[in-house]
Amino acid sequence: MGELRLMKGNEAIAEAAIRAGCDGYFGYPITPQSEVMEYLMAEKPFERTGMVVLQAESEVAAINMLYGGAGTGKMVMTSSSSPGVSLMQEGISYMAGAELPAVIVNIVRGGPGLGTIQPSQADYFQAVKGGGHGDYKMLVLAPASVQEMCDHVKLGFEKAYQYRTPVMILSDGAIGQMMEKVVLFDQVPRRTDAELIEQCPWASNGRPKTRNHNIITSLDLDPAGQERVNLKLQAKYRLMEQNEVLYEEIQCEDAEYLFVAFGLSARICQKAIDMARAKGIKVGLFRPITLFPFPSMEVSNVGNRVKGILVVEMNAGQMIEDVRLSVGCKIKIEHFGRFGGIIPAPDEVVRALEQKIIGG
């Protein structure tokens, strides 16, 4: 078993990046995720593994540092929170277009605008539907514990390179700030330049005589060429939909009602299940772990066995659209959410289930 620690979610993200063999972290401070870079600077990964850590002048610069680093094949990561991630959308779109691997962490806070520094899940649409311009997706992971914050960094890098795509870890201020027990995976050595060049023959890191020059770009002025780029991206997304769906079912076997929730909301729903079942209400939880690809078939399978679904989110109703698209309109599907940085309490969730689904 790996090393056991009590860590904040943000710290786990940072430690996992070092251990995953990340080559470079580029970020800009913003609450509630500043601990990521603070932890990295204190840990001196440049001495531990040779990893570069740099505080950029803005989120715009940070994401473009990622774009540059990823374009050379290096394993790079950034983290930010909602307003900062909005600023990064341009760069993310370019990276998706140029098919570059990277891990981008969004420790979501309430919005819109400067909003609040308290936790939220209101960036679901931005993360899942492609927040920048153009037809693109990112693989989006939604950790629900500090352990998953750690594990999803490693998984995120694996998938980023497998598909040559930016991967987003969509978490929230509460998971970023809370401490839980974490079992850390062992240090993965950083790739040598020779290993990198072998793994990333597409990368721009110096043209030897033995190959043509590599060009990293998202530009193709010829519409036919740009359509080919788009078709390639879409084929990649279909492949992700087939192979990369992750989800968890909790107490669904005998469930008559269902919660669908991701991240922190899913944790709250687990408590709500205990409270509801104590009252004799048989309710289960379906937790999407990948938000893109969304577990459509899987939620549909469970959804079609129950009498009603309550989608619980810390937003005004975003993932519910995907749940409705997946399950259809034969059963009642309602949303319960608190927003602006308020975290719903488990008893509120139970009441919403009773009022909106069972009694409604």
Binding site: V52, V60, K74, G206, R207, H213, L219
Partner: protein, 270 residues
């Protein structure tokens, strides 16, 4: 475009008096006839060829007329988003400290939308070379006003001339970055005459050599023309550049060995 006779005949060593760098890709440039970009590209590739660092060079191209620079330069390149090249170059150099990293940017890219990235990469003293082509106009989008457009100069968004009270002053960003301690070498050159071409190439060579010494940013501005955007013939545009651009953007070294150069405001002429 291959003319076999011409190629085999001309390529006989005894017949060659001049050839383009092997690091220039064999395809026609997309630039307007008379534009300085082609010459600037060639100087850059000659330096990389002569230093034999093709396999250790990573270039970052901008958005603007030279957005397709990577199609002409036979080196590994990454096309940046508009203005962000210095951020890319920062990360690339940090991650590949023994490689040679440069950005190639126009005035809109470097001195308007990318000002923050330019200033901060310079201020951090990144060991990169920034090549800044200043022709005082947005060429690619059709001749709009640039941060470096001269007072009174016409463009499609200043059709009656740049009106300083409403449109602001032209930005001498080169003099501005020269003030930063992270910047080690700053020079302003041109590529419209053989003598200026030679000086530009020498400056590029110096800049790349400095990367070996980890001295900080080397920043080369090349004042250039835009005959299409300026609505002139190439010859007229070069004359106009000498008469109007050079008095404002004075050629010569601005910072050498980390020290600002004391110099009189004179126009260099061949």
């Amino acid at each position: 475009m291959e003319d076999k006779f011409a190629k085999t005949e001309i390529h006989k060593p005894e017949n060659i008096v001049y050839k383009k760098s092997d690091l220039m890709v064999d395809r026609p440039l997309s630039y307007c006839p008379g534009c300085g970009h082609g010459t600037a590209h060639r100087m850059l590739m000659e330096v990389i060829e002569e230093m034999d660092i093709q396999d250790k060079t990573i270039g970052v191209s901008p958005v603007g007329c030279s957005v397709l620079a990577y199609d002409f330069l036979d080196i590994d390149m990454i096309g940046a988003a508009h203005g962000r090249a210095p951020a890319l170059a920062t990360a690339i150099k940090r991650l590949w400290p023994n490689h040679f990293v440069f950005t190639y940017q126009g005035d809109g890219d470097l001195a308007a939308i990318g000002t923050a990235e330019t200033i901060h990469a310079c201020n951090r003293g990144e060991n990169i070379t920034i090549i800044f082509i200043n022709n005082g106009i947005y060429g690619m989008t059709g001749g709009q006003m640039a941060p470096t457009t001269l007072p009174g100069m016409r463009s499609s968004t200043s059709p009656y001339g740049r009106d300083v009270p409403t449109m602001g002053h032209p930005l001498k960003i080169t003099e501005l970055v020269a003030q930063l301690p992270g910047v080690y070498y700053v020079t302003r050159q041109a590529v419209h005459t053989p003598n200026n071409v030679r000086k530009t190439k020498k400056a590029i060579r110096k800049a790349f050599e400095l990367q070996k010494e980890n001295k900080g940013v080397s920043f080369i501005e090349i004042v250039s023309n835009c005959n299409s955007g300026w609505k002139m013939t190439p010859v007229q545009s070069n004359k106009w550049m000498e008469e109007n651009m050079f008095p404002f953007y004075v050629l010569g070294d601005i910072k050498v060995d980390g020290k600002l150069v004391e110099k009189k405001e004179t126009v260099e002429k061949d």
